[in-house]
Subunit: 248 residues, 2 copies
DNA sequence: CGTTGCGTTGAATAAGGTCAAATAGAGTGG
DNA sequence: CCACTCTATTTGACCTTATTCAACGCAACG
């Protein structure tokens, strides 16, 4: 019922006024590194929000591409599905991160973006972003950095999938989440996984049983405490060592 | 001795005049889709070439980032090396493709780019590219497409590494190479691998012995003919079927 | 014509996957 | 609030795939 387009219009309009310049994520998101004046130019660009409920999709593979989305709240995953039904989670995404860049090249999205919990995104019409970028060179540069970092991130995942063993993948995964939670002001050592074991496995190229077994093993080794989706990291260095050295 | 900076200067100056507007790769490379007038604006931007000998690096991880590189001739690989010595090939690159976008985000390259055979790249100073992009909107858009396609390509590799079995990976690899050779006017079915079995394995997350065994198996099945680095694809559909259907 | 690097092949092994069963929670309706 | 259902998770036993280790062949090159 909240979803009805006319419902709570006054409220929505008020929300629309919450712009980049007053957004608490501006140090993480597209405005990163821009001056106050430049961020105000961004404000004219980001004028719509979209609420997504848990389980809903923000966009699907094949959808026409028109906008990027900056996550304001909530936790998202992106995945790719092959014709034969196999699918792979390509990323988990947190507030401040930009979704949708996969669609620019072909004018259609290449993956699906799902909300893992209720959330809200800022809609950034891409044609307008390019327009404003042509005037605000720091915005242009910042956007290029965001895309570049996405490429580097993907290379990191390739590394993980191509060279690491199951335990290393899990350790890297937990450390990466921890880091990103810290950057958002949350605890580095205690957090709630929004995704299932199956989704973690899909992302890491493992089966859900393997993920579960390794969580149990890490727990036995005193590295973490797991209770369902609640994770507490007890020995960060221990996890790091799993990554840094080969036993052989 | 050719490497001496002053050697053959007259020749190099002549080469510098070979610009995008007269480049045979303009349908594949950055100028793709631009008008003649727009390509001429690109000409002012791409004014240096660099020759790379087989085995040399174009850039290394950690090098300060300043330029992108458009491959004119030759075959390149990019790889990432972890502290513990493990490395992973993140891509093989052909004429018309753009290297170096990994460096934009941090002002330093994140991977190493090696020439697998003697080749030549066009040096695209990135600050100038951004400058010209602000004036030529189609160039700006084209560049965004190139970056986006790189992201989608990386997602494809993640898919390959995360969900495919060894045979499927090899089949996908061969079909991908074939496609890209066709786009460059070469035979789709007969080509020379510039990389070793080890490099293929590294890219596909497999050991070199596995790569070798599967090549032999494909040969026994009449899918391909292999002789060292020379490959002939005998049954493209057979390879495709390996990808499209799970036997289970 | 030996050296060297690359590729192929075989046998043994280990890592992770598959299948199956038991358990734990979350959410639902009575 | 409780029983019920459904889904997610854990764990065990067994199996498959790819790796590891090792030996050998081939081709290019000095």
């Amino acid at each position: 019922m909240d979803a009805h387009p006319a419902a709570g219009k006054a409220l929505n309009i008020h929300q629309l006024r919450t712009v980049c310049s007053s957004c608490s994520l501006r140090e993480l998101c597209l405005p990163m590194g821009l001056s106050r004046a430049e961020i105000e130019q961004l404000d004219q660009l980001v004028y719509t929000r979209r609420r997504i409920k848990r389980g809903e999709t923000l966009y699907r593979a094949g959808d026409a591409f028109g906008s990027l989305y900056a996550i304001r709240t909530g936790f998202f995953k992106t995945d790719v599905i092959l014709e034969d039904g196999r699918d792979q989670v390509t990323g988990f995404h947190m507030p401040g991160e930009i979704l949708g860049m996969d669609g620019i090249g072909t004018e259609a999205h290449a993956c699906n973006a799902h909300a893992l919990e209720d959330g809200e995104v800022c809609v950034i019409p891409f044609a307008r972003l390019e327009e404003v970028s042509r005037e605000v060179r720091n915005l242009q540069h910042q956007f290029h950095k965001v895309m570049s970092r996405e490429i580097v991130r993907d290379q990191g995942v390739m590394m993980l999938l191509g060279t690491m063993r199951a335990e290393e993948r899990l350790a890297a995964f937990l450390l990466n989440l921890s880091q990103r939670f810290v950057a958002r002001g949350y605890s580095p050592s205690e957090f709630h996984l929004r995704m299932t074991r199956e989704e973690i496995g899909s992302y890491l190229g493992l089966k859900l049983e393997t993920v579960s077994r390794i969580f149990s093993k890490f727990q036995d080794q005193g590295l973490i405490a797991v209770q369902q989706k609640h994770i507490r990291i007890l020995d960060t260095d221990g996890l790091r060592q799993l990554l840094a050295y080969r036993e052989v």
